[in-house]
Symmetry: C2
Subunit: 107 residues, 2 copies
Amino acid sequence: MSITSDILRGHTEAIILAHLLEQDSYGYQINKDIMKKTDNRCELKEATLYSAFRRLEQAGYIRTYWGDEKVGARRRYYSITEEGRRAYQVYKREWEEAKAAIDKLLK
Amino acid sequence: MSITSDILRGHTEAIILAHLLEQDSYGYQINKDIMKKTDNRCELKEATLYSAFRRLEQAGYIRTYWGDEKVGARRRYYSITEEGRRAYQVYKREWEEAKAAIDKLLK
DNA sequence: ACAAGATACCTCGTCTGTCAAGGTATATTT
DNA sequence: AAATATACCTTGACAGACGAGGTATCTTGT
């Protein structure tokens, strides 16, 4: 069973930042990683992903640069900024709180 | 800190059903209960609540009737149906899965 | 007596994130 | 030569949340 987008909603940015915390990456790869890590239960659709990238960049949480692939399609890499790291900590704490609250409500 | 609506989104219906599992209730009361149970961290806004009621009724998960208050404002009560109970179990399982998945993604 | 606040219901229109559908280009496999 | 995988992107529609507004009743403080 896959996880509905309404449940994932609001976590997209945190999920992306969490990935960039480990290492710089690019859209296609991030997408694949998320699916793999969750046994295909979470899938961020491309359009969703790219709009999240725009928001994160706008907010100054990520920076972007083009990879220098000699071969194959070009890749746009993303890296997390200091501000992004701080934002991630907030997202993370929000998640912990939300988790506790929802657990209390869904007995 | 309060929980953003984007994080709560997708759980509204489950939260309402969970309440009706315990006992029949009405909008205003449900709203208060949710806030109390979560120390004011979760607040479903009225408009949100009522639109969820409409959806749940449409889906056949809840039934509604007017209370017979002799005094005070009239109350519209909601009660969960058998179908609603089954739906709740699905919502609940979805939540457990989503929780596990997001926990994996937000290290 | 009157105002303010709490209880209780509701609707309309706006906003925002998701995503289906469409597009481009390159490399590899059949 | 066609299909598949990699890799990027945009547009427009949709759905859920909610701010702002409304109605009516009862209680409390002054």
